[in-house]
């Protein structure tokens, strides 16, 4: 008793009281002792014991064993003890659900307590106990509390609905709590309104399509009224909710903006940022010539600047957001450059963000100041910061032409410091400056070359090599420089290797006489000794280019480079729009959409800015076209491709020269080979080491994925031309024969190259192969075998290569196929795995055959049978496709298809639209029925396919497309 008294005394001296003693009990029989204390008769002792329990819980000890004893302490009129017990319950109820039931009665009783603080405490805690059985009992008390006379209880109950929804959404809906919550938006107490808004917003997020918040001008008005009266946090909830609303027209938009702008003067930065979000979003709808629009723009700048005098963490959040705002509306902060100057003792994260914004705001008007600052920063200590500052100087040169000269001389000064990372960074940016202003600053190359040895980072080495290659004609010892890099070729990173390869090829094209040896050396290093497929492929491309047509090689390799753009690291416009809708939130800090870091359904819905047209329809979820309309006025600046994209560039270059430059069938094969590089990756490389190069796949499946435009654009690119070529080879009106493609490249088969195609001639399926010996030795003893495949294709005879194949010799072989081989379903269906043997080795490849090879000649169905079959096949088996850009009329189409054993059975004309009904029979007896809709003047056909084996539909459709377009 004495001890208890002493304790009571201690309590009265408030400040002397120490809770820390609870943390120090680490005796062995602790739990046992606590149990005894919890069951003590003395109130004070009980309380002390519960405190010890909570202290143990805090530091992570498991005290769940005390559950019944702690719950026994719940029945008390001591509020402090009650709160502690509740805290314990929230933590452990889930692990002891049956025991937790014991607490229910007290909760229900407390919800009726005359003291509103206790009522609220009970309902608040109950919502945090995530035990199903308890939730059931929660409903009645919650219903009462939602209508409690005391606003404190109501505001707590409002949040409790969100808690309950998180546990059991169905229950909340069934009990009608959502409607009650909606009613609370009209509550007289601002805090109740704010909490109701917060709860509804959260619930609505997990039901993206429900119209839960039901924002309309009336409810918006209520929210705006509550906005003036509620706490700073409530204002944030309301503003964040407002940001989800889309006003009906520009007038409504303006009136909301007018009522939100006063919030920009709030002391709480989060209120300010949320207000900025609403304004940035609604501004989209205001006509730009409106006076108010200009006023609003002016009003936005000062509060944004003020955010920078907040604590550093908030500054960071603000700066990340300003970065977005500057990209969206550069005019707002264009005169505020100075406030982004870095302070010596800013935390590094603030410094880096400020620097980013400085680059974005740099313009002719302020460039002198900016440069002086950047030069200052380049001498700081933090490596990342210094690098970024150096890079920023380069950006300025590219962005503001007038300053380029000064920037270059600043960079040269920095290179003179010989600080390793500064030099490297400077060289990387100088490369870009060269690209932007050709023939202007090349005089500095000599200085750059002095620093070759100090470059140890891949990016800097690659940049330097690029410079040497690009200006090889001006650098006397370019060959020596590049040769020195070549010595350690295999130790370099891929980036450097690729760059070195290109640079040496450039050098060779510029000074062919002296550098032949060098180029051969690099080509063999890249193609023969490297394991990197990118490097090998690029090596081969160059090799073939150089060996077949040096003039073309020059055109490709030394082609004029696209202009480098002024802005860098710009966020892609649609993402930017989405992020603007998330100002102030984590998404705006990460510069990523919420779906990138939030799990589950929350926040997955993409937000968009409203379109400038003030119409109400479809604004909730504007379609793509609408969004594009919103962003169209701002021309999307192109972005400097990073080093990694260079390969892509190169391949694009390869495809670019029009094939009309004198294509012969053999070069067409090569071009297709080039395309394989694009498409190959997309087709599965079929388990094991059968590293095939599915040429057909590239033609049919993969290529459209790489160049989606080629199918839509009337001016077909290289791809379309290639198909034309293929058509030229085959019979004009006969069965469709795809062009030959390389199935097995020589490098994969020790010099044996196989290209080929499939044809159906006079009812016989034939595999037409072209074997080329690119090795140095003679090849003999050819044989061929197929793996099991979907339609049982098998060689009907041996591969007829009678004479040995000498080096550089080519032979064409035709192999008849039967369809009686073993069957196994392949993916894709028309995939064929082939093994070819010769005296050297066995080689594997896979290819895809057009399924039209399997269309048999007796595929014409009787009309009646057709009708019956069509009806008989369930509708689920019907698939519909679009064939675009086909300029044949129905007659011609029908004829063309007939050549490939696709038979038209009937034709009907309905309202200017021709409906062709067709039948196909596959070699294995499967019937495919088709309905082709052809509308005069519309180049897009619609085709419906019905088949009992719907898997084949996709392949059949591909055949339609291929046949019709050739």
């Amino acid at each position: 008793m004495e001890w208890a008294n002493q304790l009571c005394e201690n309590r009265q001296f408030g400040s002397k009281m120490t809770d820390s003693k609870y943390f120090t009990t680490t005796k062995k029989g602790e739990i046992f002792e606590l149990k005894a204390e919890l069951n003590s008769d003395k109130k004070e002792k009980k309380k002390e014991a519960v405190k010890k329990v909570i202290a143990s819980m805090t530091v992570g000890k498991d005290v769940s064993a005390l559950f019944p004893d702690v719950v026994n302490c719940m029945q008390t009129d001591n509020l402090e003890l009650k709160k502690l017990v509740y805290l314990y319950l929230m933590n452990y109820a889930k692990s002891q659900p049956d025991m937790a039931i014991m607490a229910v009665n007290t909760f229900v009783k407390d919800c009726e307590d005359p003291n509103p603080l206790i009522r609220a405490l009970a309902v608040r805690t109950m919502g945090c106990i995530r035990v199903d059985k308890i939730t059931e009992y929660l409903c009645e008390p919650l219903r009462k509390c939602l209508k409690d006379e005391d606003p404190y209880v109501r505001k707590t109950a409002a949040v409790c609905v969100a808690k309950l929804h998180d546990i059991n959404a169905q229950l909340v809906e069934d009990q009608g709590f959502l409607d009650t919550l909606k009613d609370l938006i009209s509550d007289s107490n601002p805090m109740v309104v704010a909490n109701a808004v917060a709860a509804l917003s959260e619930i609505a997020e997990s039901h993206p399509n429900s119209n839960l918040l039901d924002l309309n001008p009336q409810s918006i008005n209520k929210l705006l009224t509550a906005l003036n009266e509620c706490t700073e946090w409530g204002q944030i909830f309301i503003l964040d909710c407002l940001a989800n609303y889309t006003p009906r027209d520009d007038r409504e938009s303006q009136s909301i903006c007018e009522r939100v702008t006063p919030r920009l003067s709030h002391a709480n930065s989060a209120v300010v940022l949320s207000a900025v979000k609403v304004l940035m979003k609604f501004m989209e709808m205001l006509p730009k010539d409106l006076d108010y629009y200009g006023t609003l723009l002016k009003k936005l700048a000062p509060p944004l600047v003020t955010l920078l005098s907040a604590e550093p963490e908030l500054q960071y959040v603000a700066l990340r957001n300003i970065n977005l705002i500057v990209q969206k509306r550069p005019e707002i902060l264009k005169h505020e450059m100075k406030v982004f100057f870095v302070k010596y003792n800013d935390p590094i994260y603030v410094k880096l963000e400020k620097l980013d914004i400085m680059i974005r705001l740099a313009s002719q008007a302020n460039i002198a100041q900016v440069l002086a600052e950047l030069k200052e920063y380049a001498t700081e200590v933090d490596v990342d910061f210094v690098r970024k500052a150096v890079r920023a100087i380069g950006r300025c040169a590219i962005k503001v032409e007038q300053s380029a000269e000064r920037c270059v001389s600043t960079l040269l000064d920095l290179i003179q410091t010989k600080v390793n990372y500064v030099v490297q960074e400077a060289i990387v940016v100088i490369k870009d400056i060269f690209r932007k202003y050709p023939n202007k600053y090349e005089s500095v190359i000599a200085t750059l070359c002095e620093n070759l040895d100090s470059l140890d980072e891949p990016e800097a080495r690659a940049a330097m090599i690029w410079i040497v290659g690009e200006y090889a004609e001006r650098i006397d010892n370019a060959d020596e420089l590049l040769e020195s890099f070549l010595e350690g070729f295999h130790d370099e990173s891929t980036q450097v290797q690729l760059q070195l390869l290109t640079a040496i090829v450039k050098l060779f094209l510029k000074k062919p006489t002296e550098t032949q040896e060098l180029v051969q050396q690099v080509l063999s290093l890249a193609t023969q000794d490297s394991d990197n497929p990118d490097l090998r492929d690029r090596g081969y491309i160059y090799w073939r280019l150089l060996s077949t047509d040096p003039v073309a090689a020059k055109e490709v390799v030394l082609a004029e480079k696209p202009l480098i753009s002024e802005e860098t690291d710009l966020i892609e416009p649609t993402l930017l729009e989405e992020l603007i809708c998330h100002i102030g939130t984590l998404a705006s800090v990460y510069h990523k959409p919420p779906s990138a870091f939030v799990e589950g359904s929350r926040g997955v819905m993409h937000k968009r800015l409203p379109a400038r047209t003030g119409s109400g329809e479809g604004t909730e979820c504007p379609d793509v076209g609408n969004a594009a309309g919103g962003s169209a006025p701002e021309a999307a600046p192109s972005i400097i491709p990073s080093q990694g994209d260079l390969l892509g560039d190169l391949l694009n270059l390869d495809l670019a020269p029009p094939t009309t430059a004198g294509p012969t069938p053999s070069t067409s094969g090569m071009q297709m080979g080039g395309m394989d590089l694009l498409g190959g990756g997309l087709d599965s490389l079929l388990g094991g080491d059968i590293g095939g190069s599915p040429a057909m796949g590239a033609g049919f499946g993969a290529a459209p994925a790489v160049m989606p435009a080629s199918l839509n654009a009337p001016v077909g690119g290289g791809l379309g031309d290639l198909f034309d070529l293929g058509g030229g080879v085959g019979m004009p009106m006969g069965a469709y024969i795809p062009p030959k493609t390389v199935w097995l490249p020589a490098m994969k088969a020790k010099g044996l190259e196989i290209s080929g195609t499939f044809a159906r001639r006079a009812g016989v399926i034939q595999m037409e192969l072209v074997l080329t010996n690119k090795a140095m030795s003679v090849m003999t003893d050819f044989a061929i075998q197929f793996n099991r495949n979907s339609f049982g294709l098998a060689p009907a005879g041996p591969l007829q290569v009678l004479t040995p194949l000498g080096p550089n010799q080519t032979i064409e072989v035709s192999l008849p196929l039967s369809t009686v081989g073993p069957v196994m379903k392949m993916d894709p269906l028309n995939n064929l795995q082939v093994a070819v043997k010769n005296n050297i080795d066995v080689f594997y490849f896979s290819c895809q055959y057009p399924i039209s090879m399997l269309f048999v000649e007796d595929g014409k169905m009787e009309r009646q049978v057709f009708l019956a079959t069509w009806k008989d096949i369930p509708n689920d088996n019907e698939s519909q496709f679009q064939i675009q850009d086909c300029h044949l009329n129905s007659e011609a189409a029908s004829n063309k298809l007939q050549g490939s054993n696709i038979f038209t059975i009937a034709k009907r004309t309905v309202e200017g639209q021709d409906m062709l009904y067709m039948s196909i029979k596959l070699s294995n007896g499967i019937w495919v029925l088709a309905e082709l809709k052809v509308q005069a003047g519309n180049p897009n056909y619609t085709i419906s396919l019905k088949c009992r084996a719907p898997e084949v539909s996709q392949c059949v459709f591909q055949c339609y497309e291929a046949v019709l377009k050739n």
């Binding site: 009281m17 509103p116 706490t231 989060a270 005098s309 406030v339 302070k343 001498t379």
Partner: protein, 438 residues
């Protein structure tokens, strides 16, 4: 919303943790410790994402406060909340230290229960919190029904920051205009950037629910008044000169923002006791109280000569106080010899700086320090970054030029008038980041 809040000591041990959301597991506590507190490198961002869980942190002395969430929360709100939480704790038990947190862990749990509900910040006004969460246990059980409903209506109400029925025998108020003047100057004396961030702090001891109106020499208001007023001709020359252009200002939540937006008048019902009425920022026509003129000369590789002159630039009748000039020295300094005309100067090796202190200095004066710095020869190639020379001081005027024109108090229900209120106004200008590059 906020998923949980953890408080750690400098070792990364948890002092308090409260989890509000089911998606936050106990392992989040360790994730933050391992990845942030124990991280090898310096923290590069106050927001960290670890395995799809986001952590926001602030540090107060040795204590880490971390908020954890798995959702797309309002990041600005989280930090504002953390600052507020620190304020609330500080007002309850003083400094935020490991000892204080351990001593008050029950109180902290209670506060966390009240301030955050399901991760949503609720009422965080210390004034109203203290009416029902006290260190002497909860008052709850002893209160009358009236008291209870008064608490709840204050906590949730429109004027949450002030309770009814306050009475003072003497109605009195104190206004402090506190400014910090920031400067970044080039070695040649060119102002690179300068701004004043000011605060108006008010201590009010007023009875009832007084309605206050605050006026200052804000250019916009004075120009407005000047246009419509009759005393236009006479007043213009003086008011035009004295008014200042405020770039931006923010107000305590008691100020009616919509009224400020429409009429630019600052009206409010003040909280009782001390609070910050407004913050503002100015960049034009700033009075820079001191000018620093540095001269650094490298004499060979092992010696540096530094001469710094400071000039005070305000009325000779005023006195600046607590003047301190901090001259950074290179890391390889071996010895320093200092001569100064006024005050005391010392080389502090641990801070890599010469610290020159002057107690008082009148306006329009000048003083000088010269130092010889001996350097150890090093083979470190990297140049010394030459951090700027910084200065601290306090002056008895507002460098922005802000003047309080009036603070009127109206309380219609009680019988005291504006004239009966005793008002005190004080101006203090302090240095913020006041740097001159050298």
């Amino acid at each position: 919303m906020i998923g949980g809040l953890f408080i750690y000591n400098h070792k990364g041990e948890v002092l308090t943790s409260r989890v509000y959301r089911d998606d936050i597991g106990r392992n989040a506590v360790d994730a933050f410790r391992v990845n942030v507190i124990h991280a090898r490198q310096q923290v590069r961002s106050p927001v960290t994402n670890i395995a799809r869980t986001s952590f926001f942190h602030v540090k107060r002395s040795n204590i880490w406060l971390a908020v954890v969430t798995k959702q797309n929360v309002n990041a600005a709100m989280v930090f504002e909340f953390l600052y507020k939480m620190c304020d609330v704790m500080a007002s309850y038990f003083g400094k935020i230290s490991e000892e204080n947190i351990k001593n008050n862990f029950v109180l902290i749990y209670e506060l966390l229960d009240e301030i955050l509900d399901f991760g949503y910040p609720q009422n965080s006004e210390t004034g109203s919190l203290k009416t029902f969460i006290t260190q002497q246990g909860i008052k709850g059980q002893h209160q009358t029904k009236e008291e209870q409903s008064q608490i709840t209506s204050q906590v949730t109400g429109q004027i949450g920051w002030r309770r009814e029925g306050i009475k003072y025998r003497r109605n009195e108020l104190f206004l402090d205009v506190l400014e910090s003047v920031n400067l970044l100057m080039s070695p040649q004396g060119q102002v690179l950037s300068a701004h004043v961030s000011g605060r108006v702090v008010m201590k009010s001891y007023l009875s009832g629910m007084p309605e206050c109106k605050f006026g200052m020499n804000d250019k916009i208001i004075i120009d407005k008044a000047g246009k419509g007023g009759v005393t236009n001709e006479a007043g213009k020359s003086t008011s035009g000169k004295q008014s200042i252009a405020i770039d931006d200002c923010t107000f305590n939540q008691c100020v009616r923002l919509s009224k400020f937006d429409s009429e630019r008048s600052i009206s409010f019902i003040p909280p009782d006791g001390e609070y910050e009425l407004m913050r503002y920022r100015t960049t034009k026509d700033i009075i820079l109280p001191f000018r620093v003129i540095p001269l650094v000369r490298e004499v060979g590789r092992t010696k540096l000569e530094v001469k710094v002159v400071i000039k005070s630039n305000f009325k000779p009748s005023l006195l600046a106080q607590k003047i301190e000039v901090r001259i950074p020295t290179p890391l390889n300094t071996s010895g320093v010899q200092v001569i100064c005309m006024k005050g005391k100067a010392k080389y502090k090796a641990s801070e890599n700086a010469i610290v020159w202190k002057i107690k008082r200095m009148a306006g329009m004066k000048e003083s000088q320090i010269s130092a010889e710095i001996e350097l150890l020869p090093t083979n470190d190639k990297k140049k010394w970054a030459r951090p700027p020379i910084s200065m601290n001081f306090e002056v008895p005027f507002a460098p922005s030029g802000l003047k309080v024109r009036y603070l009127k108090v109206f309380e219609s229900k009680l019988n005291y008038s504006d004239h009966d209120v005793i008002k005190w106004v004080r101006y203090i200008g302090r240095s913020g980041i006041y740097e001159t590059r050298c």
